[in-house]
Symmetry: C2
Subunit: 326 residues, 2 copies
């Protein structure tokens, strides 16, 4: 484990324990099957990044109440609901180092338990009684589903632009991070400036997180990642490293890349050739730079707040988003 990760984990240890307890508590009175499937994915080493961001943001705003842990589950449930449905949609085989839920049980159960977790997230947000929170959650849900649909519609397309890529990851990833941070400001009754700063932090962190995630497909081996190498490509999903390299490549190299991408059963050798071309044409570096830019913006947004241990953790989390290997 990296030093940064260890440092963060040590500092948020108590929060993570409380979040785990809330995640279990808010599922407890429900059906066995829900528990079983939801637990498979909910309690299998998820990073809890979204609930953690909410709890940290609330602290940063001086929130002293008891509801932040409960509300924070909304973001993990929404996230896991999406994972369950997306793994099915993508035909993904592995998730969090385990066989994907729709393969362990079946499509039906993955669909219904995803629906249940979504419903649970909405019920918890309704119980806040806070209109701005509810509207935000409804908006996040709608955006996430549109982002996923957009991505599905463009499956296999070779002419995906950077703008389109950003639009998809904004919807499917960044709005949830943004919402987790922003809603904390709302429950803490923080100023509009603080709300905007946390919104900016979460949004940029989310974009960078997804870019870093998409980069992992081209930079680490499957034993570390817990999913198949080249999985995005095999799912017909073009991400920024490829989009950028395709744009800047020479005609013959572009053709070489296209041939590999179009072949669903590309070999490991093909994939290595592709990675070399992504490097040659700056796809990897460009994506790293973009992600770094968003992390800088995220960190800058926090300068509105006085220095504190919480702020330090949130800055570290931002750095870790770029550094993470899993």
């Amino acid at each position: 484990m990296s030093d940064l990760k260890q440092k963060i984990l040590a500092m948020v240890k108590d929060d993570l324990v409380a979040i785990e307890a809330a995640l279990a508590d808010n599922l407890t009175p429900y059906l066995d099957l829900v528990h079983e499937i939801a637990s498979h994915i909910l309690f299998s080493g998820g990073k809890r990044l979204r609930p953690l961001l909410m709890v940290l943001s609330a602290k940063l705003c001086g929130y002293k109440g008891n509801f932040d842990k409960t509300f924070s589950t909304i973001f993990e449930y929404l996230h896991v609901a999406t994972l369950l449905h997306d793994d099915l949609v993508d035909g993904a085989r592995r998730r969090r180092g385990k066989l994907a839920a729709h393969l362990v049980w079946d499509n039906s159960k993955a669909v219904l338990v995803g629906d249940f977790l979504l419903a649970r997230a909405l019920s918890i947000s309704a119980k806040t009684g806070h209109m701005a929170i509810i509207e935000t959650i409804a908006d996040i849900t709608e955006n996430m589903s549109q982002g996923e649909i957009h991505q599905l519609m463009r499956k296999g397309a070779l002419d995906v632009t950077e703008e389109e890529y950003i639009e998809v990851i904004r919807r499917k990833t960044a709005v949830l991070f943004q919402g987790a941070c922003r809603i904390s400001a709302l429950i803490a009754d923080a100023s509009q400036e603080k709300e905007a700063a946390l919104s900016e932090y979460g949004y940029n962190l989310g974009l960078a997180f997804q870019m870093a995630d998409d980069l992992l497909d081209y930079t680490v081996d499957s034993t570390v990642l817990g999913k198949e190498v080249g999985a995005d490509l095999k799912e017909g999903k073009l991400t920024l490293p490829v989009i950028y390299a395709l744009k800047t490549a020479s005609a013959p190299d572009r053709e070489k890349m296209v041939n590999i991408i179009k072949n669903e059963n590309f070999s490991v050798t093909d994939f290595k050739i592709l990675i070399d071309l992504l490097k040659k044409y700056g796809g990897i570096a460009y994506t790293q730079n973009s992600a770094t830019g968003h992390i800088q913006r995220a960190k800058k947004a926090l300068s509105l707040f006085e220095p504190s241990e919480t702020r330090e953790i949130m800055l570290d989390v931002a750095d870790y988003t770029l550094a993470r290997k899993v």
Copy 2:
């Protein structure tokens, strides 16, 4: 078409036109794929019973505003979202006389468009700004997903009890009808008595509707129904006619029924034998009587309201629920 159906349709013609317009309007700015898939199922002869019940209930409470048509779409979107996911879960082949959406496109699209319609329903309800409405919608969503999960968990089980059946149809069907009627009272600022009466009407109508729907599997042929005969049984789903007959049958007849039910590829002859046994042991009559009892309760609940054209339509709708052949 039956006289009763013609009479109802004539009386609600304008409302149905307005509901159709609202259903299309609230989808319009969205992605082509959503539109295409959602339209396949949304605009293919659905009865619009749920939005219609909401609009009628609002009228009954003297509501004069303009939002009832928009709010009424919530109930059709929720319904259709569930249909999309359930047809996939059940492996159903036909829906509303057409090939089921997950077979026309694929599982992925049916899942994501279902998610989108659910999200849309929640966004519209959030926009009401009315906490009781939002809580009700969240509660309905949670109940529906739990009802579906419960049903899935008991797929293929032969020891499903009447109580369990009622619990499942309450969650997966009745709460939505109940919510559509009750929420009208809320937006119309009606008295608590009226809210309770409409809630009672919707709840009982929903139970009767599902019982009548489940009976259709054993009483009409597939050309009328638009789905396969014996579909529930082939999906391993025991409904009240079978549950009751299994309980009351003699040991040898019970065994005969169990053998047919257990055989996923039962023949038409087998199915006819089963229907005869359902009749012999009162499964059909018992279910009809239960449904009739719920319709009586639904109609009785409306006696709180002064006689009016709207009340007459709602009484007719209740009668039609029992009489319908599709």
